[in-house]
Point group: C2
Chain length 315, copies 2
Amino acid sequence: MKRVLVTGASGFVGKHLIEKLVLSPDLDIFATVYSSPESLSQFMPTDKIFSLDLTESDKVLELVQSVRPDIIYNLAALSIVQNSVENAKNVLTSNIALQYNLLESMRLHAPYCRFIAICSANEYGLVKESDLPIDELTPLMPLNPYATSKVAQDMLALQYYLAYDLDIVRLRPFNHTGSGQSIDFIIPSLAKQFVDIKAGRIAPKLLVGNLETVRDFTDVSDMVSAYSLAADKCVKGEVYNVGFGKGISVREIIALLSEIAGIEVEVVVDKARVRRSDVPTLVSDSTKFRQTTGWAPTIKLKETLSHVYNYWLTK
Amino acid sequence: MKRVLVTGASGFVGKHLIEKLVLSPDLDIFATVYSSPESLSQFMPTDKIFSLDLTESDKVLELVQSVRPDIIYNLAALSIVQNSVENAKNVLTSNIALQYNLLESMRLHAPYCRFIAICSANEYGLVKESDLPIDELTPLMPLNPYATSKVAQDMLALQYYLAYDLDIVRLRPFNHTGSGQSIDFIIPSLAKQFVDIKAGRIAPKLLVGNLETVRDFTDVSDMVSAYSLAADKCVKGEVYNVGFGKGISVREIIALLSEIAGIEVEVVVDKARVRRSDVPTLVSDSTKFRQTTGWAPTIKLKETLSHVYNYWLTK
């Protein structure tokens, strides 16, 4: 039995990963949550769910000492929830602190452990047209404090590999979506609006930001399969992009959702939703990851959009 | 009159920079120190020296609002003083927090200001032989939490340029030394030992780490001239390496100090001083900075070593 620790387990991706991992009979799953253990009790026994603040060094040292994990998936990270001076500072300092606490605890108490550092395609930020699709050598040009905090987590994971030869793999996932993702993200935001319009709760006007923004979406279930494969197959010290590899515009996503919902809507550009300093196109090149692990996404975007639409139908 | 704010001003380089800047009649100099204002009172009036913790957002907002600087030189950063779990975490979180507080305060209250972000050649870390000499495109491979914290500061400065088009320049200085640097650094450590041996205070045995380590040293006075030139000449958003461009081994430094002191010593390798995960050779390519600013170092290493030796003679 391998002992697996998933941090940030009650988040959108965390829950999907836990749901997948608990099906493996050869894995003994432990999880950390910032919220209450009840948030995961539908998936696993609560005595293996630790509710703690990963920025507290002593708590994390104690956790790693008692769990003695063979694999850590670090999905824990604060994101920008409100645009305040204090919040952005907390995102920057907390994300680096929790990564440090986990890596240092692993170095001291579980140096044999494999560490899967979940970084982010956000780190690439301002990508030049000529650098598309984005491979792992594309320069890191973060555009917001969250992205910068992910660069810091990424570099700290690299540093722990370089300095201590620990078994660390870094993944930079591109956009992914599915049931349970919050409406702060584009696809749930659009899907929920379609559901509300269809139900007659709001007028048939879809509020969107930039229609021409192109992103590369993977279904969350394909993404957590990638995380799991990474633990088995990736090479220590390396960094891998993970993504579908196909760009789709917001305009095209709306057309697909319109088919799924069976309704036509008026599209209204909402200036508050147009992000400043955003890049027009982000498409992944995850050749390195596919060749190393054999991974390939299995779910097409239209199917994913149906999942998300149906999720909001039942909410 | 340009209003100039120097942070970390009571540190080794900070004092040298202040000493230089106060000579310019067209600059109005303000400084922050973590220690008492008295630490700088020999150079400038204490009513322009602010004693504060730059990790406190509200204090920094207030500072930038009241000083309204035209130029900020951010030299403030914690370094690794003791090898403890808490200390390394503080270095990581404090260095990113203070950079954030300064940049965000500037964005809000002094968006016209030029910001000189003092980053570090340490960010390059594990450099391949084939990447020597190191230019700005060499990958960042930090080897310790201090170096990682400087990558985080660097990326945050880049982010503030990319996202808000602020007037930010990043410098990555290579090794520099001079009077006032602490004996935690190699050249003062060797110079002080020579002084102590010469005075008969210790046996003629020089304790060193790896003799073959090659570094690229610039005199601190040439380095602060570079900082000052950067404020005048560098291009917004760009990053520049700054260094002499000539590698010298610890063995050669010892030979030069031996000439300066006029004594022969026995060299003893002290395992405690051999750093793990260190790279054999770091030499800068600062062509970009020289071509942009016209800077060239003026002080040869032997003269610098004499300064450091004489500094410790009089301590």
